[in-house]
């Protein structure tokens, strides 16, 4: 008899523990533990500081970071969504947002925002809009990124060229790239890498073209093609390494190792550039040069809540906190990305006094939001295989771009029909 009760107890104990752990979403002490999914290890310290501040104000809630590398973040998230083990709160980007919102796996936030008077209007309008789907807000921006022109002052001095500034046009870039290229030292003037966010999209927009408008692809548009030709032309003339070379050492790495004098890159890279002693000393930043018009791409991440979470009340408290001034200031001081909360960016600017980071903020004025649709990944995946040859110095950007435009239109049509 005694043995049986002992056994019964042993079986019941884990069951009870499982109930209290999962059912109400709280642990035995009435504490709620939220899981927070993110991908960037560089942002871990900043996020930990924000979490510490949040936990101080909400002693009954604790937040645990779940870091998944970028390469597997979305596949892991999708699988865990199906299996019901997704994080309660996680990072979302524009590329994936509509897919998640349309499938109803994100918690609608509009009601909460109204009830708690979340300061949504203090974030850039274009970014807030990126995370609303059919009139409902599903995500709140945490940061934003623009693309700027990074240049190596020492290489410019050696070539005797004045530094890039707001007056620069594509012609100035071409002239400078020709001067700066030194094949014997394996130095190139520019890195015209095949990268949609930091090179291709900004060039297309600066040529007054477009990537996606009213459900139609802009890749076949003459103006867009001209934008891409600006990049491939730099490769054809030998002023930029061909794409085949930049697969093995990407443009950013070539800029770091001072083998490329000018490079378009994200504001979010500032922290990593700052960590390179040579660049901290003589790395320069300017606004993107003008093509037919001025343009850069703006993109930002948002915090969203999983619709399958059983701790939504606590999750909302955390997301609400992160959309506020205090969290934004901590993030800005950590110096990784530009916090999206208006007026908190000074802390970011001051975190790297040697860099002219203010140019990234100036460009907000004419920044184009990152293009996306419901199944963005499908048409984005068409780009690199089709444009690869043209970016390797084999020519033919016109036909490649037109084929891409047609295929992308077909993918967009399938997306509408499904």
């Amino acid at each position: 008899m005694r043995r049986r009760t002992l056994l019964g107890g042993a079986v019941a104990a884990p069951l009870l523990a499982a109930c209290s752990g999962g059912g109400g979403g709280t642990d035995s002490g009435g504490r709620t533990t939220l899981s927070y999914g993110m991908w960037d290890p560089a942002q871990m310290p900043g996020m930990e500081q924000i979490i510490a501040a949040f936990e101080k104000r909400n002693p009954r809630i604790s937040v645990r970071i779940q870091l998944t590398p970028w390469a597997s973040y979305w596949t892991t998230l999708k699988t865990s969504m199906r299996g019901g083990t997704a994080p309660d709160v996680f990072w979302m980007n524009a590329v994936n947002f509509q897919l998640y919102a349309a499938n109803g796996v994100l918690e609608p936030l509009s009601g909460h925002i109204k009830a708690d008077a979340t300061p949504v209007d203090r974030h850039p309008k274009a970014l807030v809009k990126l995370y609303s789907y059919r009139g409902t807000q599903y995500g709140l921006p945490k940061d934003f990124d623009t693309i700027g022109l990074w240049y190596n002052k020492q290489l410019f001095d050696k070539a005797g060229i004045r530094y890039p500034d707001a007056s620069w046009t594509w012609d100035d870039v071409r002239d400078a790239a020709a001067e700066l290229t030194d094949p014997r030292k394996r130095v190139h003037g520019f890195a015209a890498e095949m990268d949609r966010q930091i090179k291709i999209y900004p060039a297309i927009c600066a040529a007054d073209g477009y990537v996606l408008e009213n459900g139609r692809s802009g890749f076949g548009d003459e103006r867009s093609i001209e934008g891409m030709r600006f990049l491939t032309d730099l490769i054809d003339r030998g002023w930029s390494p061909p794409q085949s070379a930049m697969v093995e050492s990407v443009g950013r790495v070539r800029y770091w190792s001072e083998k490329v004098a000018m490079n378009y890159d994200l504001s979010a890279m500032a922290g990593q550039m700052y960590a390179v002693p040579a660049l901290k000393d003589h790395g320069g930043i300017a606004v993107l040069p003008k093509g037919k018009r001025r343009a850069t791409i703006i993109h930002g991440l948002a915090n969203v809540i999983s619709a399958k979470s059983d701790k939504k009340a606590a999750a909302w408290k955390f997301v609400h906190f992160m959309a506020g001034r205090e969290a934004a200031e901590i993030q800005a001081k950590a110096g990784v990305t530009i916090s999206s909360y208006e007026g908190t960016q000074d802390a970011w600017l001051e975190s790297m006094p040697e860099f002219d980071l203010k140019h990234f903020l100036e460009m907000q004025e004419y920044a184009v939001p990152y293009p996306s649709s419901k199944n963005t990944a499908v048409w984005e995946n068409l780009q690199y295989p089709l444009l690869g040859a043209a970016f390797s110095g084999k020519g033919g950007i016109e036909t490649a771009a037109r084929t891409l435009g047609e295929q992308m239109d077909r993918a967009l049509k399938e997306e509408r029909d499904s």
Binding site: W74, V105, S244, V247, S249, V378
Partner: protein, 315 residues
């Protein structure tokens, strides 16, 4: 005379034992045999057969990104057949298969070299050849990418001694498939080497001694004794090798960056499957593609079994 005296002896021993005790293999013995194979059978049913049926079913459906599916008939198969990238991937995969089979001649030659009498440190050589096979493909891919690197890679450095111009091996569409194929051969040779060494060991030394007395040189001995008597092992290894090469994925996934201009020329069928299923949310079409690959593997394996009668000698 049997090629494998050891097994023949074991068989004879087994036969004599049953006759001595007077019991024949009856139903009772058979029942216990089923218990012994049950764990494997269960594993096979759960992890192979059930997923196979599921894949077949899903290949006729369209999947929601987060679960749920609708039946759409043969649409997925039509998409697979019409898609140019599928045929390109299939072509690439067959190239990998042909290159992958190159591991066999290399392994046979090395195995017969290591079989020389009086050679010391055989186990060291065997371990050296086997290490690449047990190394994770991810590590193999990363290291070879450095070796192949067009700017500072060792491969270019060595070739430059012979006056060969530097080259971006894995990002030039004309060389990428072969560059990856070489790594495939390099990393699998050890596995087949171990199989062939066992096969070579099974060939009685008497044959070699007799041939030597008759004045046969090393080449002659290799072609008239080693190769024919090794043919059952070669057949087994070639079937395994072909199936493995047709399913190749991880090495290519690691070695080919997303922005690599050679990506279309190197993508394997499984690579395309991964892209459809996990990136583009087309699980149904991906299931159809997986099924197509299974049919190709089944057809080629059947063909190999048909052709084996002409060249495999079971002594």
């Amino acid at each position: 005379m049997s090629v494998f005296p050891a097994t023949a002896a074991a068989k004879a021993a087994g036969r004599s034992r049953t006759s001595a005790s007077g019991t024949r293999p009856g139903p009772r013995n058979q029942r216990s045999a089923y218990w012994f194979i049950a764990p494997l059978g269960l594993g096979f049913a759960v992890f192979y057969f059930w997923p196979l049926l599921q894949t077949l079913y899903f290949s006729f459906t369209e999947f929601g990104a987060f679960g749920g599916h609708t039946f759409i008939g043969t649409d997925n198969y039509l998409r697979v057949i019409k898609d140019v990238t599928v045929w390109q991937a299939l072509g690439n995969t067959l190239i990998y298969c042909v290159i992958g089979l190159m591991a066999l001649p290399v392994a046979i030659v090395v195995a017969s070299l290591l079989n020389r009498r009086g050679l010391r440190g055989v186990s060291v050589y065997r371990a050296l050849y086997f290490i690449p096979f047990v190394t994770l493909p991810v590590a193999v891919g990363l290291v070879w990418n450095w070796l192949y690197n067009g700017d500072f890679g060792l491969v270019n450095e060595i070739l430059s001694w012979f006056g060969v111009d530097e080259h971006y091996w894995v990002s030039d569409p004309s060389t990428a498939v072969y560059a990856i194929g070489t790594v495939m051969v390099w990393s699998t040779t050890g596995y087949y080497l171990v199989i062939f060494m066992a096969g070579v060991k099974g060939i009685p030394q008497d044959y070699y001694e007799a041939a030597e007395l008759d004045g046969a040189g090393p080449l002659r001995r290799f072609f008239t004794i080693t190769l024919p008597l090794l043919s059952p092992t070669i057949f087994f290894a070639s079937v395994i090798c072909m199936i493995n090469s047709l399913q190749t994925f991880d090495l290519i996934y690691i070695m080919m960056a997303e922005k690599n201009p050679a990506i279309g020329d190197t993508q394997s069928v499984v690579g395309l499957f991964y892209k459809w299923a996990f990136i583009e949310n087309a699980q149904g079409a991906a299931a159809a593609l997986a099924f197509l690959l299974m049919l190709v593997i089944a057809a080629l394996t059947y063909l190999q079994f048909r052709i084996q009668k002409r060249w495999v000698h079971y002594a």
